[in-house]
Symmetry: none
Subunit: 218 residues, 4 copies
């Protein structure tokens, strides 16, 4: 029932239930729209439990974000099924596909996608740490990979623009989902759909990147 943790006298069970319920409700309602009453009700715990275990609503939210991001990065690492010796094309595809899997994961208990989308639209204090611990390393990895395509002398702004082009194509499906589902209601996000999307984005981007490389070297 209760896990043995470094905090022997707090109920890890209650903490976990709050993290799960909080993720779901913050994803659905946003930080402001979510109420501690709703979260505690869904978690089946006392209304004072959030303050007791996390201090306040903000710190529960930060913990939820941290928890969801950690889970999804462990589940779908950016190198997904490749090794440093894999071809650049393969590694780009792995980066794109794993990114799609993370932001559009529909597994039960997985709320990383909508949480991050909301955090972009309405940043909270949590964003700073996320950028430094997670997003910057991710973008650096992509930049390094793109440098292999663009050559050692490619100007950093070009690399960054290409990175933006790649990531933007992916995030479109996440950030504009409300509109996409209205314009094209039949679009689904099962694993095979994401594979197809990742294939398109990779091919489209490879052509774009190579064109940029040529232009840059001219």
């Amino acid at each position: 029932m209760s896990q043995t943790t470094e905090l022997p006298h707090t109920s890890a069970e209650t903490r976990h239930r709050l993290l799960m319920a909080g993720a779901e409700i913050f994803a659905a309602q946003g930080f402001r729209g979510a109420t501690v009453r709703d979260i505690c009700a869904k978690a089946g715990v006392n209304i004072a439990a959030i303050n007791y275990h996390f201090g306040d609503k903000v710190r529960l939210y930060e913990s939820v974000l941290q928890d969801q991001l950690g889970s999804v990065l462990q589940k779908y690492p950016p190198t997904l099924g490749t090794s440093p010796s894999s071809s650049p094309d393969e590694r780009l595809y792995a980066f794109v596909f794993s990114f799609f899997l993370r932001v559009l994961d529909q597994s039960p208990g997985s709320w990383h996608g909508p949480l991050m989308a909301r955090e972009m639209a309405e940043p909270t204090v949590a964003l700073d740490r996320l950028v430094e611990t997670v997003l910057r390393p991710l973008i650096d990895a992509l930049n390094t990979l793109l440098a292999e395509f663009l050559g050692p002398d490619a100007p950093p702004p070009l690399i960054q623009a290409c990175a933006a082009s790649v990531v933007g194509q992916i995030l479109f499906y996440r950030h504009c989902q409300p509109v996409i589902s209205k314009l094209n209601p039949s679009l689904t996000y099962r694993r095979e759909d994401l594979e197809r999307l990742a294939r398109h984005v990779t091919d489209f981007s490879l052509a774009g990147i190579r064109a940029m490389a040529l232009e840059s070297q001219r």
Copy 2:
């Protein structure tokens, strides 16, 4: 001060002040976070004025969205400086550049960008109408343009995927601005910056689209 008597029986002045103040505060705080007190204070009008002129907070919000969208579409139309006889490349550039101008416009009183970004992240009842009156025609126009590149027999899903690739690259700068400005604080969005971004996105996309066209015809 001076009353523009276009709307003889309503106080156009007060309406306009509320639309401006509402746009700024809704953009900064979101629909939920914005308070009618703040909006009225910024507009310099009585707190009951929203009720009197717009009915309630929701309808003020819808009017603000409508107003901002109308302004920006008139200011930066999607065909921006081109005609139907312009080359497809030129028209694609016009589409991309005008899109950038709209979503990243920094003119005083222009809050269309952040408002739409929030509306995507946390849709309200206003989104339905926006999709039908504005976004669908816009996407249709892009699809028609892309069909010129991809050929008459290009499968609709491919056209849509390419349209998503183009729009995604643009919106990335809008939706991820909080992260971008942390990762790359020197990036600015003056008109010449947007021109450069539009140039990159257009060239990147043209290469991607042409690769897709080749692949599709194979």
Copy 3:
């Protein structure tokens, strides 16, 4: 169109429309529940017209009461079709029947019944004057009539108790109408129904009064 009155420069038409609309809405919603906006809307006049013509909401209400009471007393006088030479039984029936007609009149524009019922339940400053100008004369007349039955030496408390018994039976159908219509939904208040009710109340009361007279003289 506009009546020539002692106030040549105010619109008698507007006053009249406000009195009619006010009667209907005060009757339906009570003084507190009625809003000046609703009344002015129903009257088809400007929202400031009440203050302009009557001073404020309270004084409109008092005028409405006065107006309705005057109308109904003129329409259904307490002596209704009898003369001082009619028999006491006939005069009691006339008193009862006319009372029923006044409090349950359903003619268009006639709101005296519900207005008075509300005024009893939630007295306003208007009640004082109503009591002195209308209700006291009415009760005095009834007491005088009852004294004919009870004899010259009947103690005033007995007369008052009998008067209360008579009036109470009538007002029951007015004050408890919401309950009556739930308990007995088929009951209606057309003129012939009121005639039957008046017949019953008169006969019931005559028997009661005569029993009281006997008991009193013993």
Copy 4:
């Protein structure tokens, strides 16, 4: 002060204070006129307590009505001191006297009379349930009793008319109290006064009922 722990998981004390303060203020001001701020102030509790314990103002009002009605019915049951073997005259007197006691009770904390009078004049959603759970059984009991006087073949409309005559005489003192106290300021409602009134109404009605019975059998 002292917690009566009949309801272990709710604060019975706070609930009770709100029920008492609510009864007094609803009786004095009506549902609309009463403000939650006033009620909470009088109860000496926080303004959010109504929401916490009762949900909202309407449900507090319903609870107050329920509570007051229950108290007064337990305190003064309609059979008041009689048994089924008592004479019909005695049982009619008991019905009338207990009715007077309920609607004109002046004990501290007893607000059933004015509350019900207001509910008649301006019915709320609470009236439906009151009619079915309390008023209909009460009227049915009276009808059954009156049938003993009027005979087994008395037509139901006659029974109902007599019941109305009885109840109307009683309620007059409740519903017209504001007028009565102006017309006859010396009238008081101590227990002995109510006894006298009940005696009059019973005797008056017995004569009336017996006259109706004779007429009906003719």
